[in-house]
């Protein structure tokens, strides 16, 4: 009861600074968090916007939370940013010619290992 009252009160006031304030709906906040962990802060570059303390990262978090609250899907928000900053802005790069090795290298190495193992087992016989 007191929680729903608090939510009502929060909804009535002006939009909070979503760069550093959680969304009232825990499910939406969880969605926003997951996405923020996978977006690169374009100023600090080595950090996700969830980890960074830069003003720009706070602005990017606010953008993510506002759009999630408006009902946009996380993938749509990611795509909106990729359209502007390139694949670089996402820590979950899409599969393309340049990134194909990220996925295929483990398979290639496994195949190489199998081939080496096979030839060494043969020698023993």
């Amino acid at each position: 009861m007191s929680l729903s009252l608090a939510l009502l009160l929060a909804a009535g006031t002006a939009a909070p600074d979503y760069g550093n304030t959680q969304l009232p709906d825990p499910r939406a906040e969880a969605q926003a968090r997951a996405l923020m962990g996978e977006l690169r802060c374009v100023v600090c570059q080595g950090q996700s916007i969830a980890d960074s303390d830069a003003d720009m990262a706070a602005d990017m978090r606010a953008l993510v939370r506002q759009r999630i609250a408006r009902g946009e899907s996380p993938e749509a928000i990611r795509y909106w940013l990729i359209e502007r900053y390139g694949d670089y802005v996402s820590y979950d790069p899409p599969l393309s010619g340049a990134t194909a090795l990220l996925w295929t290298t483990p398979i290639l190495l496994l195949a190489l290992g199998a081939w080496i193992a096979r030839s060494s087992f043969r020698k023993r016989r």
């Binding site: 760069g19 374009v42 100023v43 570059q45 003003d55 720009m56 602005d59 990017m60 606010a62 953008l63 940013l81 990729i82 359209e83 502007r84 900053y85 390139g86 670089y88 802005v89």
Partner: protein, 175 residues
């Protein structure tokens, strides 16, 4: 087979050596380039920042003449270094608009008094919304918008004295 394999470690070392040497000789470009270059300017509308100067909307652009869009802030040190070049561009007839990031009116007014005022309009982008919609990642950055409202160039970092002539040429080409 074995004979050939004995050279493999040396070969791998050679490849690694070349890769690392190439990386050392040509340091990586760490600036983030907007992928909106050659695309239309996104729609936006920003409130005025200082009294007596209009705010900025995307409808200011694409009216037949190319314009520069400068992303700056009063707290940004390279923006002070860039100011004389913007004044020089203004003196050569280049129209310049600006969006101010994370800033307040009085601070901008003081910045303009100290460093000169090359801007026709300044929009208040206190939460970097428009900056993000442009794919810009810092201050200062300058976009060249052509007469049809397309972003044709992005100059990252402060504009240096030796870039002014090139920008005037870029403006002429973007007509």
């Amino acid at each position: 087979m074995k004979r050939a394999l004995i050279w493999l470690p040396l070969g791998l070392f050679g490849v690694l050596f070349v890769v690392i040497a190439a990386g050392l000789m040509r340091p990586a470009d760490t600036s983030v380039h907007s992928t909106l270059v050659d695309k239309p300017l996104p729609a936006f509308e920003l409130a005025p920042m200082v009294p007596g100067k209009p705010g900025l909307a995307s409808s200011n652009f694409g009216t037949g003449k190319p314009r520069l869009l400068n992303v700056f802030a009063s707290w940004c040190i390279p923006c002070i270094a860039e100011a004389p070049q913007l004044m020089a561009l203004k003196a050569r007839g280049v129209p310049i608009d600006a969006i101010a990031i994370h800033d307040k009116g009085p601070a901008i007014a003081a910045f303009l008094r100290r460093n000169g005022d090359p801007y026709a309009a300044i929009g208040d982008d206190s939460r970097s919304r428009v900056q993000m919609s442009l794919g810009s990642s810092g201050v200062p950055e300058t976009f060249l918008i052509d007469g049809r409202g397309r972003i044709v160039r992005q100059y990252i970092g402060d504009i240096r004295a030796d870039q002014v002539d090139q920008i005037v040429r870029d403006m002429a080409a973007a007509r």
